[in-house]
């Protein structure tokens, strides 16, 4: 589908370029040991978000469903979720460098998914059988992955700040990192939001699954439940002060890597592909 002369993928390329620009801008500022402009970073990321939203919207219009039908779309949607959350969290908590880290992650997710053409295999239109609840379940689940992506970023920043303070290397990138307690606070909030969203998503999905037990592949069921359970256990342990500081940060990082890797098997376990929809979503 085309809007203003650009295909959906072209809009997504524009978004990826914006995220890449954020990455370059932040890196240059750090290399020059200068504090980066929070406003400039926010504006670049917001512009990328607008382009990506347009691209995903065009996709959704073409497939008559939420654009999460193949690995490419899943990566794009996850990056979009992380960015949308950053736009809220970044404005509220004003954590320095969070914009830089978010644009790094989003640049990687969007560029890799755009460059890997095979991930954008055509999928059938109306993938979710026209059932809005299943679509809502899937979108919510992926949005929670976006939250966990941001959690992985704040966890990385926590580990970097801890390393900086322990090793007494305080200049360069380290001098701009937020404080340990601020990072811990925002991580816990993200963990709560992610678990709540994922629980909600699984709740919605389970209603559909109970009506038709054969509708969900066992592998998908097990992997999704395992990811949810793992994050729920981490949240429980953190709230009981049993999993804190660096161990919590490492756990969140490893869990997100595992959750990201689990997207492949989950996507592969979907129903066999039917002939492609008549609308074109060919890569540019």
């Amino acid at each position: 589908m085309i809007f203003l002369g650009f295909t959906d993928r072209a809009w997504m390329w524009l978004a990826a370029i914006c995220y890449l620009a954020g990455l370059v801008l932040g890196t240059v500022a750090l290399l020059r040991d200068r504090r980066q402009s929070r406003l400039a970073m926010y504006a670049i990321v917001a512009l990328g978000f607008v382009f990506q939203t347009l691209g995903l919207y065009l996709r959704g219009r073409a497939s008559h469903s939420c654009p999460i039908g193949n690995t490419f779309e899943i990566f794009q949607f996850t990056a979009w979720s992380a960015i949308s959350l950053f736009l809220v969290v970044g404005a509220t908590f004003r954590l320095s460098l969070l914009g830089y880290f978010t644009s790094c992650l989003s640049a990687v997710l969007t560029l890799v998914s755009l460059a890997t053409v095979s991930w954008d295999a055509p999928h059938r239109a109306g993938l979710f059988g026209g059932n809005a609840w299943i679509e809502f379940h899937a979108a919510l689940a992926l949005f929670s992955y976006g939250v966990f992506a941001l959690l992985a970023l704040t966890s990385s920043m926590y580990l970097l700040q801890t390393y900086s303070l322990k090793s007494k290397h305080l200049h360069g990138l380290f001098s701009f990192l937020p404080s340990i307690l601020e990072l811990d606070l925002i991580s816990v909030r993200l963990l709560v939001v992610g678990v709540v969203l994922m629980t909600w998503s699984l709740g919605v999905g389970s209603v559909h699954w109970l009506e038709d037990l054969a509708s969900v592949d066992l592998a998908k069921l097990l992997i999704t439940s395992a990811v949810w359970l793992a994050y729920a256990v981490v949240l429980f342990l953190r709230l009981r002060s049993r999993l804190v500081s660096q161990r919590l940060a490492w756990t969140c990082l490893v869990l997100f890597a595992a959750a990201l890797l689990s997207l492949g098997p989950i996507n592969a376990s979907r129903h066999p592909m039917k002939p492609a929809a008549p609308h074109s979503m060919a890569p540019i």
Partner: protein, 351 residues
């Protein structure tokens, strides 16, 4: 100073030109500052003046109808301080016109300070200007010059690294605490040892808004004395271990020859704290905190050498930045001089 006609000048002495013992003689302590102002007001043809008096400099910025006025001013200044004019000429700083403008900009931006990049000097320049303005000794030249100087100094501090990083041990410790806790209002500080350095660090924390301070010392009366200064609580030294889990920052500066905070004590404290980090600042020599404490998760330990090294690194960064700042200020000084020069001759453009 031989060219006839009105001039803008700066006359004074700074830590760059005069040793400490002479600066002490020139200091305008007590009534001397007011006495100097009276002398200056009485000088005919001195149209405007402002006196900047800090521990490292005495500077008089002025606008004179003739260059000779400066010589008369110098005589009055030396007479007030009972200093041999020949000696003063050897240590004086005398600049005119654009150079005086450039100097004021560098002073206000902290480039000319002994502790490069310190922010206090800007406040002192402002105070000097406000006092002069209140006494009616400034006019169109100095008003424009000082107001533009404040803008330039602010710009430089915002857009360069001249003021970044703390350069005193106590301030570095406070900065590190901010990197750990973000805000200090809800932090609790325990000062172990009621000596000078402990008191200084506690004062630095208090000035940055720390909510609660406790003091513990082997000599309880000393702890009580320091505690009174901060409205703090004195803790008997043998109960220090029990207080440790309750505090966020522990500043140690006792004269004990061995560690007063052991690895075991810190580990026990951390088990009872759960989430919040614990920041140890060891300012004692020999050290008061077992270095092994640093291996504990969520515990941060800095000793005197660490803090001094960070302060030195910050100072080196500021000094490296001075070249860039001077270049920036030269541009601004040239622009400002072009604005101010017509006013010296009595020409007052609208802008």
């Amino acid at each position: 100073m031989s060219a006839p006609g009105p001039i803008l000048f700066l006359l004074g002495a700074t830590h760059h030109t005069a040793p400490l013992e002479l600066r002490e003689k020139l200091a305008l302590a007590g009534d001397k500052l007011e006495a100097l102002r009276r002398e200056l007001r009485a000088l005919p043809d001195l149209r405007e003046f402002t006196v900047l008096n800090t521990c490292n400099r005495v500077e008089i910025y002025g606008v004179a109808a003739q260059p000779e006025v400066v010589a008369r001013l110098q005589s009055a200044f030396c007479a007030l301080h009972q200093m041999d004019p020949a000696l003063f000429e050897r240590i004086r700083l005398l600049l005119r016109d654009g150079q005086a403008v450039q100097h004021l900009l560098e002073v206000a931006a902290g480039v000319d300070s002994q502790m490069v990049g310190e922010a206090e000097i800007l406040g002192q320049v402002k105070d000097a200007y406000v006092a002069a303005q209140a006494q009616g000794t400034t006019g169109p030249v100095l008003n424009r010059m000082f107001q533009k100087t404040f803008q330039a100094a602010k710009h430089v501090r915002t857009h360069t690294a001249i003021g970044e990083g703390q350069i005193s041990v106590a301030s570095v410790a406070v900065d590190l605490a901010l990197k750990i806790f973000g805000q200090l209002e809800r932090c609790r500080v325990l000062v172990l040892g009621a000596g000078e350095i402990g008191g200084k660090t506690a004062r630095a924390f208090k000035s940055r808004g720390v909510g609660q301070i406790s003091v513990s010392s082997r000599r309880f009366e000393q702890a009580e004395e320091l505690a009174r200064e901060f409205g703090a609580r004195a803790i008997p030294f043998d109960q220090m271990g029990e207080a440790l889990p309750e505090v966020d920052i522990a500043v140690c500066s006792t004269a004990a020859p061995e560690a007063v905070v052991t690895h075991g004590m810190a580990a026990a404290a951390m088990r009872r704290r759960a989430i919040r980090p614990l920041f140890f600042i060891d300012l004692a020599m020999p050290r008061n905190i077992d270095p092994g404490v640093a291996t504990l998760s969520n515990v941060f330990l800095y000793n005197l050498d660490d803090l001094a090294r960070i302060a030195d690194e910050n100072l080196a960064l500021r000094q490296a930045e001075t070249l860039r700042v001077r270049a920036l200020l030269t541009e601004k000084a040239d622009a400002l001089w072009r604005q101010v020069a017509p006013r010296i001759n009595g020409d007052f453009p609208e802008s």
